[in-house]
């Protein structure tokens, strides 16, 4: 039986990591140049938040082989927590981000502990059901303001130095946060921890027989993934200045799967590429209304049937590189 990611052939040789570092520097330079290029920064900031979210999601599916269909719950939880802290408690941005990320972390500990009891499709169904549970909780609790969401969130001064209401400042803060988190994920993937995760993905019984407590590793991966997804959700609050039910809904969980799939499951840069493609698509096709959903469905079908490595995975396979 094949494994969910066809992008698993990468050797952990020095060359692979060197390629990836070159690509990382290239990506950082390109993104740093965006404010000078005339591209709408709001779009890129939004895409960066989703890119981080997708990278965190990809950590779980691409390296742990666990398909979570409920990752929106972390994005939404962190968004609500950060938004509430900023608006109602009036905390500083850094504290707001910490509160949001901690909320997602706590949620990921509980949901991870429940969902890793099953594998494969059951895991996907359980995470989906849990996120629906979380969705209904937020629909009914008063602090989320139900259908309206939390709106008009003040952006504030980060560390008392950076005025986040300035688009360029906000852009570089978001970019710095994204790059840091990206490096953290990159480090995790290439650590002994990441190697064990890959071993579990390829053959869990063998990993168990080698003496690894696979459940611990899976739970750790789940918590790391959920926490970083929450970090993305907290950052997104500063960009969108609202937190709404959309971010907790299952359609968001589906979108994130699509972003990772189109970019390349189990690749380092695929999630970033996928997130930019999907966010751009939503931006430019917004006038088509529900046809966007249909197009997303078509992309899903085409990707699964013909294109399982994703864009970055196909490129990497073509040049026999690891990206």
């Amino acid at each position: 039986m094949s494994v969910i990611t066809d992008n698993s052939a990468s050797g952990s040789s020095g060359r692979g990591i060197r390629d990836e570092m070159v690509a990382f520097v290239l990506m950082a330079v390109l993104l740093a140049a965006v404010p000078f290029s005339g591209i709408y920064p709001f779009f890129v900031m939004q895409a960066l938040c989703f890119a981080l979210f997708t990278c965190a999601f990809n950590l779980l599916i691409g390296y742990g082989g666990l398909l979570s269909f409920g990752h929106a719950m972390f994005l939404g939880t962190a968004g609500y927590f950060t938004a509430h802290a900023l608006k109602v408690w009036g905390v500083s941005p850094a504290i707001g981000i910490i509160i949001g990320t901690a909320g997602a972390c706590a949620l990921s500990i509980v949901t991870g502990w429940i969902s890793i009891r099953r594998q494969g499709i059951y895991f996907a169904m359980i995470t989906l059901a849990l996120s629906q549970l979380v969705f209904f909780v937020y629909l009914q609790t008063p602090f989320t303001h139900g259908e309206d969401g939390i709106q008009g969130i003040p952006q504030g001064m980060l560390f008392g130095l950076f005025d986040l209401s300035q688009p360029t400042t906000l852009y570089y803060v978001i970019l710095a946060a994204f790059l840091l988190a990206f490096l953290l994920i990159f480090r995790a993937i290439n650590s002994p921890f990441g190697e064990v995760l890959k071993a579990i993905r390829e053959n869990e019984p063998r990993a168990i027989s080698l003496g690894y407590k696979t459940d611990h590793y899976k739970l750790m991966a789940f918590i790391l993934s959920g926490t970083l997804s929450g970090f993305a959700g907290s950052l997104k609050v500063f960009v969108a200045q609202n937190a709404s039910l959309t971010d907790v809904h299952w359609t968001m969980s589906g979108e994130i799967v699509l972003m990772a799939l189109i970019g390349g499951l189990g690749t380092v840069f695929g999630p970033v590429v996928g997130a930019f493609i999907i966010v751009a698509m939503q931006q430019y096709l917004a006038g088509f209304g529900q046809w966007v959903t249909v197009i997303q469905g078509v992309i899903f079908v085409v990707c699964v049937l013909t294109f399982r490595r994703g864009i970055v995975g196909e490129i990497a396979a073509l040049f026999k590189r690891s990206l």
Partner: protein
């Protein structure tokens, strides 16, 4: 007490939809190793099919009850032949992703043409009105839905567990290669099984049309609850899915009466509890 009985009845009706849908999911999973995410969308198509039959062709509810499952079932078989068969043998998760894409396409198309609001579908005249049972007032249509679903579930169980065709099916689920070696056309059985599962979903859609109205997203949230039902019940046995479906519907109805705030979430909470106590599900085998 009246309200309690009424909620129990609503619970039984929802339970019959859960049972019909999770039954189809289990049968499909057994043969195709795919969790059919498009199940909710095809349930919705069943309801729309009934709506079209009535408003375009003038065919009433009783025709729809037969024709809609057949039409949607054929559509499902076409899906299987054109799309699903290409991912046979791949990781199960690809099946989930593919059918999720199919669900998005179907729901998106219907939303484009019909918006998100509901279209009315009248209760057939033969089933209008109600009966006074002494302790409660029973709307006849609601009673009919519960009884008819139960009959269909038992018939499906009989088909799979007690007939020769069902024996082939069960054998092909266990070991398709061996069954093929005996000269049985397994790919055709896979297609028919998918059609059967889809037909059950469409039938549930027709049954629900007069109760819940016909909406493009009527299956989208339902399928998530059904997933939870499947996790609770496990997909090991046909009867298991049916009983779990009905039981959870009743529990949901009771929750609506005693603690309405939790009625949306009670199935998910139960799923968590079952996972903590018996991770393989109530009737499931270890995977």
């Amino acid at each position: 007490m009246q309200a309690l009985y009424a909620q129990l009845l609503v619970g039984l009706i929802n339970g019959s939809f859960y049972a019909l849908l999770s039954l189809g999911l289990a049968v499909i999973f057994g043969m195709l190793n795919i969790i059919n995410f498009a199940h909710g969308a095809l349930y919705m198509m069943g309801a729309f099919c009934a709506y079209f039959l009535l408003n375009i062709f003038g065919l009433n509810y009783w025709y729809a009850l037969v024709l809609a499952p057949i039409a949607v079932g054929i559509f499902g078989m076409l899906l299987e032949r054109t799309l699903l068969k290409w991912i046979a043998g791949l990781d199960h998760l690809y099946g989930l992703l593919l059918t999720f894409g199919i669900a998005l396409i179907i729901q998106g198309v219907f939303q484009n043409y019909f918006g998100s609001s509901g279209l009315p579908y009248a209760i057939p005249p033969q089933l209008q009105g109600g009966m006074n049972l002494g302790f409660m007032f029973l709307p006849i249509y609601r009673g009919w839905v519960v009884v008819f679903s139960l009959v269909v579930c038992i018939a499906t169980w009989y088909l799979i567990e007690r007939t020769r065709l069902g024996a082939y099916l069960r054998a092909a689920t266990e070991n398709p290669n061996l069954v093929r070696a005996f000269g049985i056309n397994v790919p055709r059985m896979i297609t028919l099984t998918y059609g059967l599962g889809i037909g059950l979903a469409a039938l549930a859609g027709v049954l629900s049309a007069p109760i819940n109205q016909v909406r493009p997203l009527m299956g989208a949230d339902l399928i998530i609850v059904v997933f939870a039902v499947v996790v609770i019940g496990g997909m090991g046995s046909i009867m298991g899915s049916v009983i779990t479906g009905f039981a959870l519907g009743v529990v949901e109805g009771l929750t609506k009466y005693f603690y309405p705030e939790a009625s949306n979430t009670v199935v998910f909470v139960l799923m968590v509890l079952v996972l903590l106590v018996k991770p393989t599900g109530l009737t499931g085998r270890a995977t």
